[in-house]
């Protein structure tokens, strides 16, 4: 469904992504995992066309991403930090997006009601807590019933009850055969929903495959431990030596 080929992106001197190759297909729940600043959000934003990659290409359902953005009708995106026009209320915001999309697909308002956003309709966005913003973002991402869902840190800032609601929703969408890309730092959150793992570090792919393969390769049964194993393994192969050298220099 989404094919990424030799994707590269630099921000000035910082290499954010380097030669990323990946394929995501329908029915998968892919966990994008990696330390802070490893390029997860940059990768997601490249798929959405918010970041323009320097090298490589992304194919969405076989077509290279065009500049007209019409493919985004098939993507639901929940950003890490939902930033919305301050002087709009929740109701106005949702109505506006519906109006702008003008789509005829049946709306999926399940999360909207499950998060009780209908009771907060008239609250302006500027006064919302971080958690409520997350709920709005989630409701918006699922609203148009898109075949691909991209969730950036979906459970960060949500209380346990809402987090559970969202997780159940993710499972339901997975059962419908949708593709879900999820990043999260809280690995236990992802444990029971993920089917595939993409591990990024320093802008490169260190592991990609089914979750069972990850268990096999690392010999760990829990996702958290397996990732920890990967991290140590990844850093042992070079990058760290340079860091250690610097530490030694500083120590002396």
């Amino acid at each position: 469904m989404i094919d990424i080929k030799h994707l590269g992106k630099r921000f000035r001197k910082l290499v954010a992504l380097e030669d990323i190759n990946a394929t995501f297909s329908a029915g998968q729940v892919v966990a994008l995992i990696g330390p802070n600043g490893s390029g997860k959000t940059t990768l997601i934003k490249s798929i959405l066309g918010l970041v323009r990659p320097d090298k490589g290409a992304i194919y969405f359902q076989g077509e290279e991403l065009g500049s007209d953005g019409s493919y985004r009708a098939r993507i639901g995106y929940m950003p890490q930090i939902g930033r919305y026009p301050d002087n709009m209320t929740i109701g106005q915001l949702l109505r506006m997006i519906r109006d702008l999309r003008g789509s005829d697909v049946s709306l999926d308002e399940e999360l909207y009601y499950q998060f009780h956003l209908d009771r907060l309709q008239d609250k302006p966005m500027r006064g919302l807590s971080g958690g409520t913003r997350q709920k709005v973002s989630a409701a918006l991402a699922f609203l148009f019933n898109p075949p691909v869902l991209i969730l950036d840190e979906p459970t960060a800032g949500l209380d346990p009850v809402s987090s559970e609601v969202l997780k159940k929703k993710i499972l339901r969408e997975k059962a419908k055969g949708k593709l879900l890309l999820i990043t999260s730092h809280v690995l236990s959150d992802l444990e029971d929903v993920t089917t595939h793992v993409l591990y990024l570090q320093d802008g490169r792919v260190f592991f990609q495959g089914k979750i069972s393969e990850l268990h096999e390769q690392t010999g760990e049964q829990r996702l958290g431990k397996a990732i920890a194993h990967l991290m140590q393994h990844a850093t042992a192969q070079g990058e760290l030596e340079e860091h250690e050298f610097i530490y030694i220099k500083i120590a002396n």
């Binding site: 959405l48 506006m96 999309r101």
Partner: protein
Amino acid sequence: MLKISRYVWSDIIRNKVVIAYTLFLLVVSLSLFQMEEDPSKAVLSLLNIILIVVPLVSMVFATIHWYNSYEFLELLLTQPISRGKVFLAEWAGISSSLAAAFFVGVGIPVLIYNGNATGVALLLVGMLLTLVFTSLAFLASVRSRDKARGIGAALMIWFYCTLIYDGLLLLLLFAFADYPMEKPTLALSCLNPVDLGRIYIMLHLDVSALMGYTGALYKDFLGTAGGTVVTLGILLLWILLPLWMAMRTFKKKDL
């Protein structure tokens, strides 16, 4: 695109600055026409105010509005809407509301008290300058992510057009005082939309006789129908060129 512009309008109406700007222009123009016996003198005074205020307000308002609606733009870009559309809709929303404010604030009094060719020329120049400076403001704000830098750049452009340019021109004229400078001056005035607008209206006001030989040359060139077309064409270029550059930058930008 019109749908997006509609949301920009509703946002602008809600924040009331443009309404205050309309009232300000209305009060200024009405009181000038009330005070002056001769409406064409009032137009001259009005011209001087407009050439300062219109660029400044268009520029500052457009820049700040751009940064304020960054979230809105970001949200739109996660939806199936192309960047070009979002950009043009935002520009159309802001520039049309500023132009409408100018039309109500200055246009109505001018058409009532001095609805001749000069009045119409003043309106045209004012509207075009509004669009020019909205485009320049967009260019300044798209180029820098930092708000303070964007607004600073916008103000620098305004300084250039209203103050620095005149100084530079004087300097140049002094330095080359021994040479015939009429034609180069004419060409140089194309480098500043405000100056171009001023000369264009002055020529309609018959005060060009006071500007000596250069004035006569201006009149010869810009006073004719062909000159009008050239002036408006250059002002149009001042709208489209920055807009096109800004859009190109925006399309390549990482958000």
